[in-house]
Symmetry: D2
Subunit: 368 residues, 4 copies
């Protein structure tokens, strides 16, 4: 029922392959195809522990459906050190974010809707998935080659494109747990039991979650223009499960249960199979998810605890200017916000340039 | 006639400012406003030498117009070392390319054209420049702060927005000299005497050249839709003047003369003031400017000399697999191209991953 | 009584100087000369806050003696980012530790003792300090130049060499507070109120504390061989005040008080002027301060809380092998120690190679 | 006669092994055991090509003896990118040079000489080699683990310790070919046909060549003190075969022939089997091999061609200060040397801090 293999996603200069583990849970028939991956950003370790705890849940109560787990999904990023830390957010050669290189070209979607307008939902779904798969194969097959990060992304995407549900496990720098929720899937998001939620539009920007759902959402929109109701066939979420460079097994167990609770709704288990103490949930629209950039350089005292609402005007950081020690000028600058907010994450270092992204906040929060 | 000052473009964690030198040549009246900058990518040193040689030309034969020179335009990028090399193409924190953070929002352009439809060209130009300036000031003034790279870019852009001509001096990694030419300015491009030319559309993608000309090109397009002919008021080019991490004073002198020759057309000097031995010029459209990504990892022997046409099917790189030494499998992979091409630049290292960008080529070349 | 200035310790590629703030507290006569510096390793921010709190103590109760404070002592290291973190432990070009480049050459010490054997302690002290000062000046004056890190070190050392007491404020990666104690100064070390203490021999290895005390200790040894008792004239300690990349103002206040308590013994204040709740103190010899290197690669769960004794054989880390997920091989490796130990610090990342330094421990602990 | 295998020298965080290829040429009996490795510094590619060409020589004319070739000897360093370049000289976590972590402890050497004083040369050699081997095994077996770089070094050293001849193939940054020659092996060094030679003492400093010969040299010295003549049993050289990040197959062929010519003297082939056009050779003692550190920051024009003598007082670099453009202060600083010299290598970047190592020179040159 559980089988494992390895998939080559790249090759390192020394000639060694860059391979990812692929674990397959073949559950009872009747459930969805699910794809979960973790650690596409090299320093974001925690998702691996969540996958391990989630596999334990699958062992304890075998699910319906077909589940694929890919921990350590970016070996190149994981193996790149810089000082003690893992330089894992972007390709060290080009600076490109590892999670912005997935592929989708919507050029043919209008033609597709016209030619498939009168086929059944299942036929449409199969044909469209085939088209997406063909697109990935064609991209990988370019006579000009494929860039390192995109090659890796495409190899992962070839697995994800088969799935009805795609969950991409990340973390922030120093971060509370938060969730990116595509607007159309909002009703199901609370099941993950993640306290902070960002509701996002359904456009494609290169990330895994968008690459998974946006084609289907665009298909749905395009059919709607032709007068046909065609539901979005794929759910996809990015889960940010705490801080980078950390492993918290107890929290991993709770988040694995949250994922299982969400998958109950999707048919993997009967409702109520998994439980976890509910947390207060906040949400806001992506446009209201705001970064605070440092107005000056200095050494940072982070004042606003993550996950706890902070009112407009209250100081959220104190920026120390130790270069002015002993002088009469003020030794620190305090920064506050123009509106109420909930801090989601903050910078991982106490050492900031002018313009460093110090914090990110939910603002104009609403119920999930 | 020549004056100098410094402009603060950021602040380093230690509290020290990041400042750029600003040199102003106040020429005789009647000429254009010209803005030249160099070294926005930290490793791309050569442009500084070109500015130095260009200033010598201005001293030898005072130009008409107002010329601003900004060497060492990105002190944060210039000061960031990683091993012996300068990690200067992107922000070491975020991976964002320093030359993709300039600002332009075309939201108001349609309304602007309607309200300014019946004003004179000069009035339109003044009003539009004012609007661009206001946009930059508003962006800098955000209560949420401005990201390090964008803050620096905006401060440079505040100078560039005043100019009729904007030249941004870069280099490639290991590179022949090449030029990015906006389609509408194609007729003047040959004056720079740069052998390889990429003709690009006039959209905005965040680079300095685009930030300088694209608003004016979009304005021109918008007016055209309303039936008014309004010429693009600003010329902007990105010059790639050789290889990074190198200083070649003799070549800098020739490229300074090429710039002066171009500026003759724009009114800074009488035609024929400056001369330089003409070079064979190739051009292609941006969509035909192609990267070759390594099909496998290995140690790279670059076979195709830069600037010299290579036919389809001829090997351009030999990728050595020294991990197979002593085995019966082939010790190297040779790669060729599906079409004729002119090599523009190649990767700076002999050590490549699968997917490393090995070369860039002009293909489907045409006359400039 | 308090004055400030700046000292140039280097020059950045952009031409900007690398300068350090120098704050001088001119106290009443009769006290020692004291030199304190912080942040020579760029990510080790906390010492700056301790200096700030210490200056407040000096303001509240003016000390005897002459005190020099240098926060942000390594602007080049502080300004070098790599990802979100500060790559501040070593020169990014050469890999050399910023705190191993101080200078002392003991070649002339035997001759010095012979020629100064019959002078008074004060005369010897003055002459030897003069010789050390001359050695630094000669090194800085080399016609071959001086390496970046050594140039900076020498400039700081020129201030420190004037002092009777030198305190160099550092932090570990993720770290409990600990102190490097030269054997000869052991009796005074408990005054800092730092829980974990490493008693070290008095040789010179290139660090600031050694550069400050080792010449005087060697002088004392050399005189002893000639039958003269000459006390070590300089006290020097390296204080490791918690974790890198963090600012904890409350703890800084307690550690500033600990420093003041130590300086009471040295004559800056009357005994009992400053107080702080005493902490349990452990000590061991440097040879018993042991690093644990990871026996294999993997994702690390740090099990042993810092500062709390752990018995031989108890697991201190669990190394997860998520690449084996779904397989029958063990999913983790646990590591324990061959002897009782007190964990002092651990690696800052949960992502480790084989051979990564996971923890450092006091072993064979004894009373301070 | 030629066989290949792989040796694991470490493990990467993703769980993938770090393995090196090991090629064995089993020649006819009667020749020495030879060990050659390349690319211990990750950016120093050229040695791999030399090993490939050398293997071709072995195939063309089978040698006497047993030859082991290890290309790509440091997969961790080779795979570590930082920008386009390979950050391969030091461990990115600790800054430690990969070629300073070999092991030798001379503690027992005096006792060994006493107990083996009256054994034959062969018996002594075998016993001493056994002791060195045991030392490596004990080090690898520490209950506290072994640091990443030392673990890799020890695994390589376990192969090298078996050899009579050890050649470690490196390159400089931008560099002429040069050779480190242990004083005792000076007479044979010219056979490599390398133009620039540094004659070094025979102490141990952690590099592979020293780790290979220094124990045997110390043994020889120790026996000499006891009145026995015991020749140094191992020859070891570090060859620096040009510039990093470059592959030059034609030069590799010439250097492979140089190595073969040296090995003729050692018994692998009859004298005169291999030939190569002789080059002018310079040598100096290690203490006269001098680095020039930049007296100020700026952009560097390297004036002195590598390998060509430059007289005292002649400018070797021009340091441009583009931050002073348009001002009256001098735009550049020229640096010359206090004595005649031959430039061996220069810095790989045109962007320098104060104190950057700009050049290295042979001075006080003599015949090899």
């Amino acid at each position: 029922m559980i089988s494992t293999s390895h998939l080559e996603v790249g090759q390192q200069p020394s000639g060694e392959p860059a391979r990812v583990p692929v674990i397959t849970v073949e559950g009872q028939p009747g459930g969805p195809r699910v794809y979960l991956q973790a650690n596409v950003h090299g320093a974001e370790i925690q998702g691996n522990a969540v996958l391990e705890r989630f596999l334990a849940l699958c062992r304890a109560r075998p699910p319906k459906g077909h589940i694929t787990l890919v921990p350590l999904a970016n070996p190149i990023g994981i193996n790149q050190k810089s000082g003690e830390f893992t330089l894992g957010r972007f390709d060290p050669i080009s600076g490109e974010n590892w999670n912005r290189q997935y592929h989708f070209n919507n050029r043919d979607i209008e033609a597709f809707c016209h030619t498939h307008l009168h086929l059944s939902d299942t036929e449409v779904t199969d044909a469209f998935r085939q088209q997406l798969t063909a697109q990935l194969a064609a991209r990988l097959d370019s006579p000009w080659g494929v860039k390192t990060g995109q090659h890796m992304a495409l190899r992962l995407q070839q697995m994800a494109v088969e799935a009805d549900i795609v969950l991409d496990l990340h973390t922030g720098p120093i971060s509370a747990r938060h969730l990116y929720v595509p607007e159309y899937a909002r009703a199901r998001a609370h099941r993950f039991n993640i306290p902070l939620n960002i509701v996002m539009p359904s456009d494609f920007g290169g990330a895994m979650d968008e690459a998974a759902f946006s084609p289907w959402w665009q298909l749905s929109q395009q059919f709607a223009e032709l007068g046909r109701t065609f539901p979005v066939q794929v759910d996809a979420f990015t889960l940010e499960l705490g801080s980078q460079e950390k492993l918290d097994i107890a929290q991993a167990e709770r988040d694995a249960a949250g994922i299982a609770r969400y998958l109950e709704v999707m048919g993997c288990w009967p409702e109520g199979t998994h439980n976890v103490a509910p947390e207060t949930q906040y949400a806001c629209a992506l446009e209201h998810y705001r970064a605070l950039y440092s107005p000056c350089a200095g050494q940072i005292e982070y004042l606003a605890p993550l996950g706890q609402p902070v009112p407009a005007g209250a100081p959220v950081v104190r920026i120390w200017h130790y270069d002015r020690l002993g002088q009469d000028t003020p030794l620190f600058t305090e920064v506050s916000l123009p509106c109420d907010a909930v801090p989601v994450l903050h910078f991982a270092s106490a050492n900031a340039q002018q313009g460093t992204e110090l914090y990110k906040f939910l603002t104009h929060t609403e119920a999930l």
